[in-house]
């Protein structure tokens, strides 16, 4: 920028952008979240990352933040991966965050990831091992704390949704050291074949990662995997994932949602029954209509109508004939008789029999009368009929 011509702001920004965005195309930083805002409905997250003396604006787009396994909030210390971008219109810079984890729980997180990988490689999370849930469960076991909101919520939803079940509470400790052991025992109990349990739900409300830690227990994971009865997990909030969730046959985001997943909806079935009733009535009406129209069809069929038509026509002819007859004087009737006799005679004279008597003969090939020489070929067998009998012959020339 040696010369005296000023550059435009856009040009300046462009140059800044190219330098900064190139230099900071990958940043790995730690800081505290403040001024967190979830921009609905798109779900982009806007916040500030700060420490004691500095702060930088940050954004995590909805395409990235769905992968988060915790709910970001003000005051939370996090480690992020991302890049620096410059927003031309305002001349501000910000961190475009790709990945974010809670800091300070490095060891736990590491242990979690390690166990997750191990069980995954053993196939404990495979879809092929997931058991389907029954359509109409009868005995539903819920493993949770005897007191607290979870069991109350579950009962409330069950009553509303499908009260035709036995809900069997198997109390277990849901947090603190040794909780996993009590859940394992409850799972074993629920698998007692005498109880005829159709589905098991392991449920607890939200909590810190430390509260939920017992559900990352390896023995518990293996016990869930071993369970003959399908297991639905509902541990913590939607954003909390535990090992138990991965190994369960089905994961519910919350305990109430678990009840909804496990139980059919009463209202849905009442609606279906209404539809069935409407349909069965309709089918009845349709059948009767079909049969009626079949009957009408048969009634109108040619075979049934024809004799009647013929009879009717005949009746009409007869009536007409009678009318004609009555109109004729007696002499005319006699004349008619003579005329009839005459016609009969002519017919007789023209008949083949009469011609045979007069010396003519008839040639037949099979059933065909031969009236032309062209119709006969060499060696054709023919029959010649005379007035006094027939002879077989063969064409020789």
């Amino acid at each position: 920028m040696e010369n005296n011509t000023p550059v435009s702001i856009s040009e300046l920004t462009k140059r800044l952008k190219s330098v900064v965005e190139y230099e900071f195309k990958f940043v790995f930083a730690e800081g505290e979240i403040s001024n967190f805002k979830l921009h609905s409905p798109k779900g982009n997250m806007y916040f500030v990352l700060k420490d004691d003396s500095s702060s930088i604006n940050a954004v995590m787009w909805n395409t990235q933040n769905t992968k988060l396994n915790f709910q970001p909030k003000d005051g939370l210390k996090v480690i992020i991966k991302g890049r620096i971008t410059i927003w031309d219109a305002r001349g501000t810079y910000q961190i475009d965050v790709w990945e974010m984890m809670q800091s300070g729980l490095g060891d736990l997180q590491l242990a979690f990831e390690k166990l997750k990988e191990k069980l995954k490689s053993e196939g404990l999370f495979d879809e092929s091992h997931k058991k389907p849930l029954p359509q109409f469960p009868k005995n539903v076991a819920i493993i949770t704390s005897e007191t607290g909101a979870v069991i109350k919520d579950f009962i409330r939803v069950s009553e509303k949704r499908f009260p035709l079940i036995n809900l069997i509470l198997i109390p277990a400790a849901m947090q603190g050291e040794g909780a996993a052991k009590t859940v394992i025992n409850a799972l074993k109990t629920a698998n007692n074949p005498d109880l005829k349990i159709d589905v098991i739900c392991i449920a607890r409300g939200g909590g810190s990662i430390e509260d939920l830690w017992e559900f990352n227990n390896e023995n518990l994971a293996r016990e869930i995997f071993k369970s003959e009865v399908p297991v639905v997990s509902a541990i913590g909030h939607e954003t909390d994932f535990t090992i138990a969730d991965f190994v369960a046959d089905k994961r519910a985001p919350t305990p109430s949602a678990a009840a909804e997943i496990i139980l059919p909806d009463k209202n849905d079935y009442l609606e279906r029954l209404n539809r069935f009733q409407y349909l069965i009535n309709n089918l009845g009406i349709r059948k009767i209509n079909n049969l009626t129209s079949n009957l009408t069809y048969i009634q109108n069929n040619y075979f049934f109508r024809k004799p009647l038509d013929t009879l009717n026509n005949f009746k009409i002819n007869l009536d007409e004939f009678e009318d004609e007859l009555l109109k004729l004087p007696v002499t005319k009737i006699n004349n008619l008789n003579t005329e009839l006799n005459y016609i009969e005679k002519i017919f007789f004279n023209l008949s083949p029999e009469n011609n045979l008597k007069r010396g003519y003969s008839i040639i037949k090939k099979g059933d065909e009368y031969i009236s032309s020489a062209k119709k006969l070929n060499l060696f054709d067998k023919i029959t010649i009929k005379f007035k006094d009998g027939s002879k077989d012959a063969e064409v020789t020339k």
């Binding site: 009962i155 036995n166 009442l270």
Partner: protein, 70 residues
């Protein structure tokens, strides 16, 4: 032991109803009027049973302590 008669009979009756409905719908032309009437009455009966069960059912709750606590 834990056993819900209500539920079992709901499932049983509902499945039976579903079967009748499917059969009637797909084989209406081949079904005789007698058979239809029989199925019609059976279907209505099942609809009413199922509806009653859904409407009148009351959740049964029990508690079982783990046998394996030691």
């Amino acid at each position: 032991m834990a056993k819900s008669i209500d539920n079992e009979s709901f499932e049983f009756n509902y499945k039976k109803l579903e079967k009748i409905m499917q059969k009637l719908e797909s084989e209406l032309d081949e079904t005789s009027l007698d058979e239809l009437m029989k199925n019609y009455q059976e279907g209505l009966k099942l609809i009413n049973i199922c509806r009653k069960k859904l409407k009148e059912a009351e959740l049964k709750i029990e508690k079982i302590n783990s046998e394996y606590n030691n």
